[in-house]
């Protein structure tokens, strides 16, 4: 059998509802998830006795909330702690400190048994559609696994429920008995998404859900995620490094640098009026697919690499690369504080000397 007959099945890409340019705040107000002072330090063991000799400060005091129905994204350079944050809020990792509250319940240190019912509500999508599916299991078994784990029998039986899910994500019910290797990358990501939807979760944490996919397939999956959010009232926490994709999908965005949030705000505040020097530099570095603009944009060149999270620079962690750094930045840590006034009061930045906002609105 070849895969071509599968790959010819066109994804359901009927033009859906036109999305509002800036989503109205009324559908996003209530906090679904609240993260307070979240810390994760990974101990480093060394020497013959395997004593703890230090710690990777992967996540170091992170605060944010995620509102029902919104897409909240976390961006930042490799190693800044995005995936660790995702694994902490889904409780795949045990926090070193801080608090995670989901629908008003403190889930920070729940035991596995007490966490189990919560697992239905909080699901995770992983980056790699190839390694996150068991190659020896059929699609039916993979997508139906959450029912088995939770001991749930959906209405109409498991098979029917799984086939419905396959249709929901744009696959065919006939794919039930096939194996992951018979599918393309985009289709495998759809299988993974179908699995996360099985238990009707409230929150989906997606760690780089489209970065392994080709651009044409990536767009199919982005549209699918948007449609599902609309239909199923989902809330997303999205981890991504592609700043164009993030701009497209997010309501609010947080920027991380070396284990800390340095700036957070509504998508348009962050993209049109970035205030933290790191955010400004990062946004200026994105190549833009517009030949007319290629010589017009001013790029801020950052020197050097991200320092090690084992011994991060004191006070402001960005001061080793920041062109605005002064003595204060090396001695005092800037807190994450509100910087905008209404209607931009969501906008917060952790910097002693924020960049001036552009005089006139851009974009």
């Amino acid at each position: 059998m070849t895969t071509s007959d599968i790959e010819d099945t066109p994804p359901t890409d009927t033009p859906g509802p036109v999305r509002h340019a800036s989503r109205t705040p009324d559908r996003v107000s209530e906090n679904l998830l609240v993260v307070e002072d979240l810390v994760k330090h990974f101990p480093i063991k060394g020497g013959l006795l395997q004593r703890t000799t230090g710690a990777v400060q992967a996540v170091d005091g992170v605060n944010f909330e995620v509102r029902r129905g919104e897409t909240f994204s976390i961006v930042g350079e490799s190693g800044c702690g995005k995936s660790t944050t995702a694994r902490l809020i889904t409780r795949l990792l045990e926090p070193t400190g801080g608090k995670v509250t989901f629908e008003g319940h403190d889930i920070t240190h729940l035991s596995d048994a007490k966490m189990r019912p919560m697992r239905r509500d909080i699901q995770m999508i992983f980056q790699d559609p190839f390694s996150s599916l068991n190659p020896r299991h059929t699609v039916g078994k993979i997508v139906g696994a959450p029912y088995k784990l939770q001991g749930v029998t959906p209405e109409g039986g498991r098979k029917k429920a799984v086939q419905d899910l396959l249709e929901t994500v744009g696959l065919s019910p006939e794919h039930y008995n096939r194996y992951p290797h018979e599918f393309s990358g985009g289709q495998r990501q759809r299988i993974g998404i179908a699995r996360t939807l099985a238990l009707k979760p409230k929150l989906i944490v997606a760690d780089e859900p489209v970065s392994a996919l080709d651009v044409s397939i990536q767009a199919q999956v982005v549209n699918l995620l948007e449609d599902l959010q609309e239909e199923l009232d989902l809330t997303y926490v999205m981890i991504a490094h592609d700043l164009s994709v993030v701009r497209h999908v997010s309501d609010r965005v947080a920027v991380m640098y070396l284990g800390k949030i340095v700036e957070i705000g509504d998508r348009d505040d962050l993209y049109d009026r970035p205030r933290h020097p790191y955010t400004v530099a990062m946004l200026s570095a994105v190549p833009v697919a517009d030949t007319k603009r290629r010589h017009q944009r001013e790029r801020i060149r950052l020197e050097g690499d991200v320092p090690s999270p084992i011994n991060p620079p004191p006070a402001c962690r960005f001061h080793t690369r920041c062109w605005k750094a002064q003595d204060l930045c090396r001695t005092e840590e800037p807190p994450l504080l509100q910087i905008g006034t209404a209607p931009h009061s969501e906008h917060k930045v952790a910097c002693h000397f924020p960049v001036d906002p552009p005089a006139s609105p851009v974009g």
Binding site: G16, E77, E226
Partner: protein, 349 residues
Amino acid sequence: MTAAFMDTPASSYLEVEDLQVHFSTEDGVVKSVDGLSFHVDRGQTLGIVGESGSGKSVTSMAVMGLHTASNASITGSIKLDGQELVGASRETIRLLRGKKMSMIFQDPLSSMHPLYTVGNQIVEAYRIHNDVSKKAARSHAIDMLDRVGIPEPAKRIDAYPHQFSGGMRQRAMIAMSLSCDPDLLIADEPTTALDVTVQAQILDLIRDLQKEFNSAVVIITHDLGVVAELADDIMVMYAGRAAEYGSAEKLFNAPEHPYTWGLLGSMPRFDQAPTDRLMPIKGTPPSLIQVPSGCAFNPRCDYQPRVGPACLDQRPDLVDNSSDHFVACHIPPAERQQIWAQEISPRLS
């Protein structure tokens, strides 16, 4: 000189004519590259874009003479500074590498030896083409590392590749690739694994070094933003062939191939507030063992029904629609331009 030479009077530094790279495998013949022509002048940058598996890396490795497997069959012509490389001996090609042509790979670890220091590898690469003492080569290597932005190069030169971060390794490899001032530089997804700020540093570096050495550059990527920033000309590849080929301005501002339209519609725009849904291409890229007959893009093309059966059984040639803008599609040029202007372009902005 032969008549063939007369046909292309202004010959470019790299001239590829009707290149075919086929691999015979247990499952059948993989037609990775199947009739590809392009050229790059010195001082010029060609961007090659396409989805994974479209034949980009196979093309660049063919130019570098790196298809040594016995199941590979290469036909057509690859001329580097007038010298034919297809059929040339391995030794001939080996001697061209480094000085006349050089390549930056996506994964720096695969092209750097893990057991030799970064410095040693640059020194060796340099000494193949330059008859200088080890000491002089070492000071040249320090110089190169400094140029690519490695801090404290005199200290870091004796580090091993694994002691560098991903971005530093990529820069060290670029230093190695550029140590002999290559006339042709091929960069195959040089920044795909990197963060945007590091990517920007690397792209600036390639641009600066090209200016300095007046090299011909081929940059291969799936990121349309990268080619928009860097390339003079762009070739869009699909299933081992060129779908569209022309100046960057043409390709971004007046593209004429349905696949190019699909790529542009799939891509979220970084510089615009999102207003609408993305417009993906339906389906997935074909297997290169069973390429669809006629136009390889036909199962995914929204315009195939308008054209009719020609798309299903006649392979469209890459034809110049006038001003050095080549398109492989059966839709007549005037109609393509109209579809772009009236149907596609308004939805993209």
